[in-house]
């Protein structure tokens, strides 16, 4: 055991000294830190985008403005929610809904908006709480540039607006200038056509070079639909206020999970998010196993190609070498994965961006779900299974170049869990999930993915036993291959020859 530990210690120390280890260790936390700070920063620092509306119908300008103002109020409420989480005194729970859903936003606007809510929050805030900063408006409507005649034809207006839209000219805004983000052109008869259900594409035109930002077209769409429906209600003699009241009614469907303890069966948003977490874990599992396999392969080849194996074999047995490597590299892998997990959990706890209010409960749900122990089990067994393969591959190759050739097919095999992880998560007890569960190379990833959906106990135990048996078989084979292949150079042995080594029928 002493020799195994000495080898493990060397593997750990030497790998921990490599740049790759530190890059791997810090990349994920760094990306998360950048992501969190940048997303917060971007949310706060994102400049307003300017758009013009040429409404020749005279019907839609006001509803669109209203719709955009509503979207802004929602982002203010969201920011207030973040502000409250950061600055409320411990144990304080405000009786106002800061969740930013539709009803909450309506209530927020009706109550008087930001100032009214801040007045109610203030007594519960920490003493040194900073001032609340209202997020800037994402979209601001501006007037047509002066030189454009608003009474001209749509074509003429558009021709003059194009230089602004493509960035050749800039519009004057608050004493400065800015790029025009979008233009909405509405023909005179657009409202009537829309009410008849006959409006073509030309009646209402949205022009913008940026097609990925969809908040603005969505808000415009919302405003347009709101107004057209209002007009239709009036035209047909339906009381609009009654309709709005009815539209605000929401049916609630309680979702319950029979697998949860009695009294706690309600499925919350956090529970729903937690259901998707296994996909993240599969990805983490894949990345961590693949990363440590590279280390294992590299070290094994180094010992073979640099002729270190023979000195080692005069001091320790092939099994001690193998076990030492497995332990040392596993320790490296666990250090890395542990750091990633801790960072991910801490980072998500600190996250204040969109959807932050459900992250805390979702993390609690993940912590309580047994996914982390399952991840560790799958990591350990998956690591041993792939270690058996990669140790053998490393011992059979003469140098890194040869190993890279061999890695191609191994990589293809290893990609399957990534391709299938979303489908398995969606249908955790489906045919694909069941088949992949019983293919040992994919068992760790598939079981990880299915873990949140409570797979049958028989499958859980069966899959665990399968992983253990596969790991033992592959490691036992790797031990035999290692003993012979580590001292062999020259042509790579044929498959049949390797089988003979594994079966112990060899002269070496």
């Amino acid at each position: 055991m002493r020799y195994t530990l000495l080898i493990a210690l060397r593997e750990f120390e030497e790998n921990a000294k490599t740049k790759g280890f530190w890059i791997g260790l810090f990349t994920l936390p760094l990306i998360m830190a950048i992501g969190i700070s940048v997303s917060g920063l971007l949310a706060r620092a994102e400049p307003s985008r300017y758009f013009v509306v040429v409404d020749k119908s005279g019907a839609f300008a006001a509803p669109i403005e209203h719709s955009i103002a509503w979207a802004h109020q929602r982002s203010v409420l969201q920011a207030l929610g973040g502000y409250a989480r950061e600055n409320l005194r411990a144990g304080q729970r405000p009786e106002i809904d800061l969740s930013a859903n539709q009803t909450a936003v309506e209530t927020f606007i009706a109550a008087g908006g930001k100032d009214a809510y801040l007045a109610r929050l203030r007594p519960m805030l920490r003493e040194n709480a900073p001032k609340f900063k209202e997020p800037s408006r994402a979209f601001v409507r501006v007037d047509l540039p002066k030189e454009i005649d608003a009474d001209g034809s749509t074509e003429a207006i558009l021709a003059e607006l194009k230089p602004y839209l493509i960035g050749d000219r800039r519009i004057a805004v608050d004493g400065g200038d800015a790029r025009l983000f979008a233009a909405l052109l509405i023909e005179p008869g657009a409202a009537d056509e829309a009410m008849r259900g006959a409006a073509g594409e030309a009646a209402i035109q949205y022009w913008s070079t940026n097609l990925t930002v969809d908040n603005l077209p969505d808000a415009i769409h919302g405003g347009l639909n709101y107004e057209i429906r209002r007009r239709l209600y009036v035209a047909r003699g339906v009381d609009v206020a009654t309709v709005r009241e009815i539209e605000a009614t929401r049916v609630r469907v309680g979702a319950f999970d029979p697998g949860k303890a009695e009294g706690t069966e309600t499925v919350s948003t956090a529970d729903r998010i937690a259901r998707y977490v296994p996909v993240g874990f599969v990805y983490l599992l894949w990345i961590s196993i693949f990363t440590v396999m590279q280390m294992l392969l590299h070290n094994t080849i180094e010992e073979k190609s640099n002729r270190i194996a023979e000195v080692l074999l005069s001091s320790v047995t092939p099994n001690e070498i193998m076990m030492g490597k497995l332990l040392g590299v596993a320790a490296i892998g666990l250090t890395m994965v542990g750091t990633w997990l801790v960072t991910a959990f801490t980072g998500l706890q600190l996250y204040q961006g969109a959807g932050a209010e459900v992250i805390g409960p979702a993390l609690d749900a993940v912590a309580a779900s047994g996914l982390i122990p399952m991840f560790l089990l799958c990591f350990l067994l998956g690591y041993l299974i792939y270690a058996g393969l990669f140790l053998s591959a490393g011992a059979l190759c003469n140098d890194l170049k040869e190993a890279q050739n061999l890695q191609g097919p191994i990589m293809l095999i290893m990609m399957v869990p990534l391709f299938t992880m979303v489908f398995i998560n969606r249908d955790p007890h489906g045919t694909l999930a069941t088949i992949l569960t019983w293919i040992p190379l994919y068992t760790p990833f598939t079981m990880m993915n299915r873990a949140a959906a409570d797979p049958p106990l028989v499958e859980l135990i069966g899959a665990t036993l399968l992983m253990i048996a596969t790991a033992l078989l592959l490691l036992w084979s790797a031990g035999r291959i290692l003993r012979i292949a580590m001292l062999r150079t020259g042509n790579r042995p044929k498959f049949a020859e390797v089988v003979q080594w594994i079966r112990g029928r060899t002269d070496a």
């Binding site: 020799y3 000495l6 080898i7 060397r10 030497e14 000294k17 490599t18 180094e302 190609s305 640099n306 002729r307 270190i308 023979e310 000195v311 080692l312 074999l313 005069s314 001091s315 320790v316 047995t317 001292l487 002269d507 070496a508």
Partner: protein, 315 residues
Amino acid sequence: MNGQVLELENVTKRFGNFTAVHGVSLTIPRGSIYGFLGPNGAGKTTTIRMIFDIIKPTSGRITILGASSALNVRPRIGYLPEEKGLYKAMTAAATVAYFASLKGLSRKAAKQRAHELLERYGLGEFVDAKIQALSKGMSQKVQVICAVAHEPEFVVLDEPFSGLDPVNQQVLEKLIRDLAQRGSTVLFSTHVMQHAERLCDHLLLIVKGRKIFDGTVAGAKGTIPRRVLISTESSIGPLAGLDSVAEIKPLGESPTKPGTKDWEIRLRGQTSAQAILERCFQSGIVLRRFDHSEPSLHDAFVALVGAESLAKEQA
């Protein structure tokens, strides 16, 4: 096994249809420097790997320091393989300390010993240098130090001199003598006969997997007939009748002394060359050269291995 560190009894190793080692038996007494000689492919490395239980013999028995497997006595043995290599990213001191700790030294003692030995054998300023930054010769010295840092009772050095410059070869010779003086038994294989001649008490010679000689250096030299090389201007017929002469071989015209002929006269057994010299004077044979030097180990090696093996080795 009182006075012996290693005993091989009728050890054979086959790889498929090829027999690398044929029934080799040998005994290495404690405290000796043992030279392990043989042409390429003779089975030296296979024998050494079997000694260290890295590969198993097909038949026969190996006893090392009284144990049936080298792994049972690993803290007491040291090994420098023919194909040398170290972890390139490790420092010289860490490398020596690591291998010493694998041989049973505590991590602290191993570190201390590493610094001490690197200093003693001229690598003091490279203790913290990575192996990849060292020259081939220096890293080979580090590896030799790795093999002996734990002060083993029995050390096997497979081709320790290959790749070393003359100065470092001397350092290595000193290291081997130091080991022997301290009471360690050293078995080393080499192609350079001068090293074996200078260092060894005993020699073991194997050819094509078979032991063909096992004894002292003097014994090895004694296996080849003594000879005299002479250059004369006249015939040497009168020498043929001498009892001490076994064979006279004409070597043709001397390349350095035109008009003279070279001869090789093989003596019978260990007889003296004095009688030949006397007969030359008596018969009026004009000698231009009379060379009766002791046979070198190289001569003995060539004679024992045979011209064919030599040709193969030189190729």
